[in-house]
């Protein structure tokens, strides 16, 4: 069983500080939904409101269509996985998992059986009698998931559950979480500041900044059709040009920048004469020996980094702006060398003009 979660213009205030600002989104039953945003943007606060630890200062939260106002966390059909997991260190693994059943008065034998079943589900079959302290990070993670699943929640809430794990394990657990979600059909609301995680796992992603929901879309649209400068710059790499919109034709527009005038797609709510930014993904940049087409920037290559599956090329244009291109390591593209003079060219359909601030990038984002 799973339930949808509706946030109706939800706000959260701490004193005069508004941590969550008018967030409105309908999360479908059985959906894997991620809130993605930089540290301090209000993600945990949203999750704590859904689970009932804080009440919204405005707006309505509905779970399965039912208004949750006044419902304590122990009355809601949600289970929260805490950022630090919060396993009970004094109980063995199986009692941790069975705690929710113990609370519901299930007898000991059934509890034990159910705990073992869930340990199988999370691929940790022999851990029932271990102490929590004996487990590795990834194993604790699985126990936390099993403990939450044991109460058969209609909505699972996960607060950056993978952030403490190392890269390899993180990638493995991503797939695992996704598989568990598919198997159980429970609605997952997942919080992360890691864009890779959000894009790879989610049905839909809500990108947040400073308490506001910036865009809700499927991962592909978040990446390919960002709604504003914040989303574009928070998710993925960009070459960014500041300038002004000049003429528009269809969905394209002419955009004047210090590096030249380009043709690019018009983003939402961008009109003629506006000051805006042009966002161009490095993988959409082509390297050409001579000028070609409307969008062409003469550059000098400054650095070439071999990344394995792709090659990252840093270059500088006449105005001194640093530009980034990525070439696939498919053997077909000639790899330039530092000092080469080339042209960066791109298709106007692959670049987008957007308004709004850009994200100050996290170190690890």
């Amino acid at each position: 069983m799973s339930a949808g979660v509706d946030l109706d213009n939800v706000c959260a205030d701490f004193g005069t500080f508004r941590a969550v600002d008018n967030v409105a989104v309908n999360i479908q039953p059985g959906e894997f939904f991620s809130f993605l945003g930089p540290s301090g943007c209000g993600k945990t606060t949203i999750l704590r409101m859904i689970s009932g630890f804080i009440s919204p200062s405005q707006g309505v939260i509905r779970i399965g269509g039912k208004d949750m106002k006044g419902q304590r966390p122990n009355q809601r059909p949600t289970a929260l996985i805490f950022q630090n997991l919060a396993l009970f260190p004094l109980m063995p693994v199986w009692e941790n998992i069975a705690f929710g059943l113990e609370v519901r008065g299930v007898d000991k034998q059934k509890r034990r059986a159910r705990a073992e079943e869930l340990l199988h589900l999370v691929d940790l079959p022999d851990a029932a009698d271990k102490a929590v302290a004996q487990l590795s990070g990834g194993q604790k993670q699985r126990v936390a998931i099993a403990r939450a699943l044991a109460v058969e929640p209609q909505v699972m809430l996960l607060d950056e559950p993978l952030s403490a794990l190392d890269l390899k394990l993180r990638q493995h657990m991503r797939a695992e979480l996704r598989a568990i979600q598919k198997r159980t059909g429970v609605t997952f609301i997942y919080i992360t500041h890691d864009q890779g995680e959000a894009l790879a796992m989610s049905d839909r992603v809500g990108v947040m900044s400073q308490g506001k929901l910036q865009q809700v879309a499927n991962p592909r649209d978040i990446y390919n059709n960002p709604a504003n400068g914040f989303v574009a710059s928070f998710v993925g790499e960009n070459n960014i040009f500041t300038g002004e919109v000049q003429g528009t034709e269809g969905n394209l527009a002419r955009f004047a920048t210090a590096s030249g005038t380009f043709t690019a797609r018009l983003g939402p709510a961008v009109t003629q004469g506006m000051k805006a930014r042009l966002f161009l993904r490095p993988e959409h940049v082509r390297l050409a020996p001579g000028a070609g087409g409307t969008n062409s920037i003469p550059v000098e290559v400054t650095d070439v980094a071999f990344e394995g599956n792709f090659i990252s090329i840093h270059a500088r244009d006449a105005g001194g702006q640093v530009l980034l291109a990525e070439a696939r390591n498919d053997g077909a593209t000639a790899v330039p060398a530092p000092g080469d003079r080339l042209h960066f060219t791109f298709d106007g359909q692959n670049a987008v003009i957007l308004t709004g601030d850009t994200a100050a990038r996290d170190i690890d984002a």
């Binding site: 289970a79 929260l80 805490f82 950022q83 919060a86 009970f88 705690f99 929710g100």
Partner: protein, 294 residues
């Protein structure tokens, strides 16, 4: 030690060390050894000291076991000290929980100050204050009568009631602070996790908070119990005619009978028997000594 040397230099450090050593040795260790030795000696007129009768024996200790009255006083002292300990726990646990997990951080220094201020007043004065408060025509009865809660004045200082009230008041903070420390160190997320999994508040306390606080409960209880059983001031001031505390018997031996030897034996018996009792209780509740030391 190295830290001290660096901070205060050789001279001051030596002075500190010598003074502390002097204090422990001369004021704590030696008197106890002296009393311990004498607890095995008979009480003799000065003339016979060093004579043929002045030999070590267990007689002083056996005096206790031969006296049903003393045994019964000891028994009730232990029982009521346990009652005091339990009442202290009942009062201190909710308060410690409130202070460490519920109240606003900004209020804490204020609350702790209010809790500490009574400690600045001497124990004699505080016990005497209770003697006045609890008196038949004292302010407590007056206010209860005034509020219409009771119709006739209550005789508070009867049986062990006055002693219990006084001891709880005197020692409750010794329960509060270890409990506060223990609960304080519990990750609040664990309390929330329990609630999130559906636990009502009492089960969260029973399964998560109390087990975590167990070492704190144990060290608080040991302190309150030992201090209560060994208290002399409060029982002297607040006891009624029909309640005697074991320490009062020790005092009688020492000051009324002038028999310090039997008095010492009784004092060591109190220490030994209480230690045995505490160890037994700790075993029942599966608390290890190392837990308390933490």
């Amino acid at each position: 030690m190295k830290d001290l040397l660096n901070r205060y230099g050789l001279l001051l450090t030596t002075v500190f060390a010598v003074l502390t050593g002097f204090w422990i040795l001369v004021l704590v260790v030696l008197p106890n050894i002296y009393l311990f030795e004498h607890s095995f000696k008979p009480y003799l007129p000065v003339a016979e000291l060093g004579g043929p009768k002045d030999v070590y024996s267990l007689d002083n200790y056996l005096t206790f076991f031969r006296s049903p009255i003393h045994i019964s006083v000891f028994f009730w002292t232990v029982i009521y000290s346990a009652v005091v300990t339990f009442i202290c726990f009942l009062i201190a646990y909710p308060l410690a929980y409130y202070l460490s997990k519920v109240s606003a951080r900004a209020l804490l220094p204020m609350i702790f100050l209010l809790l500490f201020i009574p400690l600045w007043v001497s124990e004699v004065l505080r016990s005497f204050a209770w003697f006045i408060i609890l008196a038949l025509k004292g302010p407590l009865n007056a206010s209860l009568l005034g509020l219409g809660i009771i119709e006739d004045p209550v005789r508070w200082i009867t049986g062990f009631r006055g002693v219990i009230i006084g001891l709880v008041y005197t020692y409750v903070l010794f329960m509060l602070f270890p409990l506060y420390n223990a609960i304080q160190s519990l990750d609040t997320n664990q309390i929330e996790a329990a609630e999130d999994l559906g636990a009502p508040w009492w089960r969260t306390h029973w399964r998560v908070i109390l087990p975590h606080a167990k070492p704190g409960i144990a060290s608080g209880s040991v302190m309150v119990f030992m201090l209560s059983a060994g208290s002399i001031l409060v029982p002297t001031l607040l006891a009624s005619t029909n309640s005697r505390w074991f320490t009062e018997i020790i005092q009688q031996w020492m000051f009324e009978s002038q028999d310090w030897n039997t008095g010492s034996a009784y004092a060591f018996l109190l220490l030994i028997l209480c230690t045995v009792f505490v160890s037994a209780v700790m075993r029942v509740f599966r608390v290890k000594l190392s837990d308390i030391a933490k």
